[in-house]
């Protein structure tokens, strides 16, 4: 469907098929991936990126029972849409205020970038090179947030962050009532405390891996912000996002060893950190067993 839409909007069949695959998989940079192709084309791409960043179980439920209020993924989908609208407006406002674009281009580029980075797809970084630091920083935060669970997007995921944010607010309440029993709910669903504990573990490990990887990458002589951008881009599977830090030659200037390191980071991020560590742990324990 996406390929057909892109084809109708003017792309060659080859480009349309490639772009559809890249966009649906929230893959990354592909030549036509800018907001320059006209408003209709931008809207079509945004729709596909939003679809792929959405919860696929939600879609399955919709096809089975139609659009119902009690769909378990509805809360997260609403949160994602609110995030896109909020971030899109913020970026557009800032782009316009800073004089980067006129009002219509600010809106088109702002919303396109917000969708592209929240879905961890990324977009052609050449366009972003002239953007103010604030907008690029918002985009880096968006790739950390990522899409919904059970989507093709990377990042920490909206549901997880929502649970952690609500649990932290509950912890704030517990500061006042030390014997209070925590009851955490997120996006309309109760979350058991054991699950919150697991999410805190995941978040802590993710943060540690992000910072550790950025430190390791700075060994390669990459500037601190570029190292952080690269680390974030690899972990969240949002490849072109590394270039948000402003160092356009960051990928090409690295040695092969460091590129392999980035590959390992991408795998770590794609397999959601814990799973990858289990593989390593299992391999190590087997290896130790042979000795």
């Amino acid at each position: 469907m996406a390929a057909a839409v892109f084809s109708v909007l003017g792309l060659s069949v080859f480009d349309a098929v490639n772009l559809a695959m890249v966009t649906l998989a929230t893959g990354g940079c592909y030549t036509p991936m800018t907001s320059d192709g006209g408003t209709l084309f931008s809207l079509a791409m945004m729709a596909v990126m939003l679809f792929s960043a959405g919860n696929f179980f939600f879609y399955a439920e919709v096809t089975r029972r139609g659009l119902t209020v009690d769909n378990p993924g509805a809360g997260e989908m609403r949160a994602m849409l609110r995030l896109v609208v909020g971030a899109g407006l913020l970026i557009s406002l800032h782009l316009w205020r800073s004089g980067t674009y006129d009002i219509s281009d600010s809106l088109r580029n702002g919303f396109f970038a917000a969708t592209a980075f929240l879905s961890t797809t990324g977009m052609n970084p050449v366009l972003l090179a002239g953007w103010p630091d604030f907008d690029r920083f918002v985009l880096i935060l968006l790739i950390f947030i990522g899409g919904c669970i059970a989507s093709s997007a990377g990042g920490l995921k909206i549901l997880r962050l929502s649970v952690l944010a609500n649990a932290s607010v509950e912890e704030l309440r517990r500061t006042l009532h030390s014997r209070m029993v925590l009851r955490v709910s997120a996006l309309g669903r109760m979350v058991p405390l054991s699950m919150v504990g697991q999410l805190l573990s995941f978040f802590s490990l993710y943060t540690a891996v992000f910072f550790g990887a950025a430190m390791a990458l700075s060994l390669a002589g990459i500037a601190p912000l570029s190292a952080m951008g690269l680390s974030a881009a690899c972990l969240t599977s949002a490849g072109p996002a590394a270039l948000l830090a402003g160092d356009v030659g960051v990928y090409t200037s690295m040695g092969e060893g460091w590129r392999l390191f980035c590959c390992a980071l991408m795998l770590l991020g794609r397999l959601e950190v814990f799973s990858f560590l289990f593989v390593i742990q299992t391999l190590l324990s087997r290896w130790e067993g042979r000795w």
Binding site: I140, T175, S194, S201, S204, S218, A227
Partner: protein
């Protein structure tokens, strides 16, 4: 609550007399300090009369309110000499005062040589009062704080694994104060012997022991060009990065109490690794070995202890060195010390949490007891450290967003957010080692002040004030 705050301010009023007497003796302007004394004493009398005389039955909520409001009031009153003396505007004065009390040590004063000595002394005193904790300071010194003070003490110390060195809270505060005073006198003597003037020695000792960072010179520690002074500073910054409760243990049980302290051991390992990396990179960039080692240890210690003295422009150092310093900045010192940051104990607890999470993912129904430093740690404590890390990251992102909105570059903003949350002082780039905060836009200055206060009170107590239900009966 009002009565307790009134008592706090009565103690604060007495402290404000010190720079007043100094100004009289030095023949400098006394009006700014007279005004500060009048404001503080007036508020103290007003609050003492307005509140009920009950300091025993303080609830947890009141404890949080007293601590947070106490910090806000003292920071506000402490800004009076800067503003009334015509040295700074209102926003700058408040930021300088907050930076002093929280121990951040970032300044907005562009030429310290033009500032009178009594103002310089007051800056250092704000560090010294805030270093141990404003409330702890006055609980130790003043009578009439009953056991209700325990609530306030625990809110201010904010350690994830609370300890009490003495059965009574007042006795604990007094022992802590005695250690604090001893370190300050020892540091003053050491700095004086190492070549500082007595005035510089007194100011820098107060600043060091509080892990603050204010200096009497624009060049900070680099002004003295003295290896002896730098080694003395390293020693005292290190001593003040450790848990002060550990020193009570050493007095009671000997050195083995320190050797058993897992937090201190981990902190020293981190410091050693960071110093080694920095020294190696400085040596590789052409510095001689001795200077490279001293500079590396000094900068690692000053950042890890969240003091923020500067002996070299670390903004010009290689990328890995900057990342190391940024990491040490975020982690900070040990709990129960005068240092800020996330604290080493929380890093250890988070590591335990991650390990537990990994094992739970493989065996969801397994039950196991977690230990740290020979003590059993409950799941609530582990999760509390996780919540703190999450809130810390969220606030760093929020502050960075505000700073970038206000025109700072992205990396400078992240570093500024981290350095102010950890109360270090210098960041990187525009707000780096050789710069100050004078050029920050107003919104950023207010954000920096908020970040310092929230970071100093370990996030949750200050944020609790803004919960809608907090002020409801």
């Amino acid at each position: 609550m009002a009565f307790f705050l009134g008592r706090l301010l009565s103690g604060f009023s007495l402290v404000t007399l010190c720079p007043l007497f100094f100004a009289v003796a030095a023949g400098e302007a006394v009006q700014p300090f007279l005004l500060m004394f009048a404001v503080s004493a007036g508020l103290s009398v007003g609050l003492s009369c307005a509140g009920a005389r009950n300091v025993e039955g303080i609830s947890l909520r009141e404890g949080i309110a007293i601590t947070s409001l106490g910090w806000l009031l003292c920071s506000g009153i402490g800004a009076v000499p800067y503003i009334a003396g015509g040295h700074l505007g209102v926003v700058d004065g408040v930021l300088e005062s907050v930076s002093g009390f929280t121990g951040a040590g970032a300044t907005v004063i562009t030429a310290l040589s033009k500032i009178p000595d009594n103002i310089l002394l007051w800056r250092s005193m704000t560090h010294w009062i805030g270093g141990l904790g404003i409330v702890v300071f006055f609980i130790a010194l003043l009578p009439q704080f009953g056991e209700g003070a325990a609530r306030v003490f625990e809110t201010e110390s904010g350690t994830p694994v609370p300890t009490r060195a003495r059965p009574r809270m007042k006795a604990t505060a007094q022992v802590l104060f005695a250690i604090y005073l001893t370190f300050t006198l020892a540091a003053t003597a050491a700095y004086w012997a190492a070549g500082m003037t007595l005035f510089d020695a007194v100011n820098h000792s107060m600043s060091t022991i509080a892990t603050g960072g204010f200096s009497t010179h624009d060049e900070s520690a680099a002004y003295f060009h003295s290896p002896a002074i730098e080694w003395c500073m390293i020693l005292f910054m290190l001593l003040c990065s450790f848990d002060f409760g550990m020193y009570i243990g050493i007095l009671r049980d000997g050195v083995k109490a320190a050797l058993k302290n897992v937090e201190m051991r981990f902190f020293l390992v981190m410091l050693a690794v960071s110093s080694f990396v920095l020294a190696a990179e400085l040596f590789a960039s052409g510095m001689n070995v001795g200077e490279a080692v001293r500079t590396a240890i000094f900068q690692s210690t000053t950042v890890a202890s969240t003091t923020g003295f500067v002996s070299a422009d670390f903004d010009q150092w290689p990328s890995l060195s900057k990342m190391c310093l940024l990491f040490m900045m975020a982690v900070g010192g040990c709990s129960g010390s005068t240092a800020g940051g996330i604290k080493v104990i929380r890093i250890l607890l988070v590591a335990k949490l991650v390990g537990l999470g990994g094992r739970r993912a493989l065996s969801p129904f397994a039950r196991e007891e977690m230990h740290l430093g020979g003590r059993t740690v409950s799941r609530e404590v582990l999760m509390g450290a996780g919540y703190f890390l999450f809130a810390y990251c969220a606030l760093v992102c929020l502050w960075s967003l505000i700073f970038t909105w206000d025109g700072s570059s992205a990396f400078d903003s992240v570093a500024l957010a981290m350095t102010t949350m950890a109360n270090v002082g210098p960041g990187f780039g525009e707000w780096g080692a050789t710069c100050n905060y004078a050029a920050l836009p107003t919104l950023s200055k207010l954000t920096v002040a908020a970040s310092m206060l929230i970071g100093r009170l370990e996030i949750f107590p200050m944020l609790a004030l803004f919960r809608p239900g907090f002020w409801r009966k």
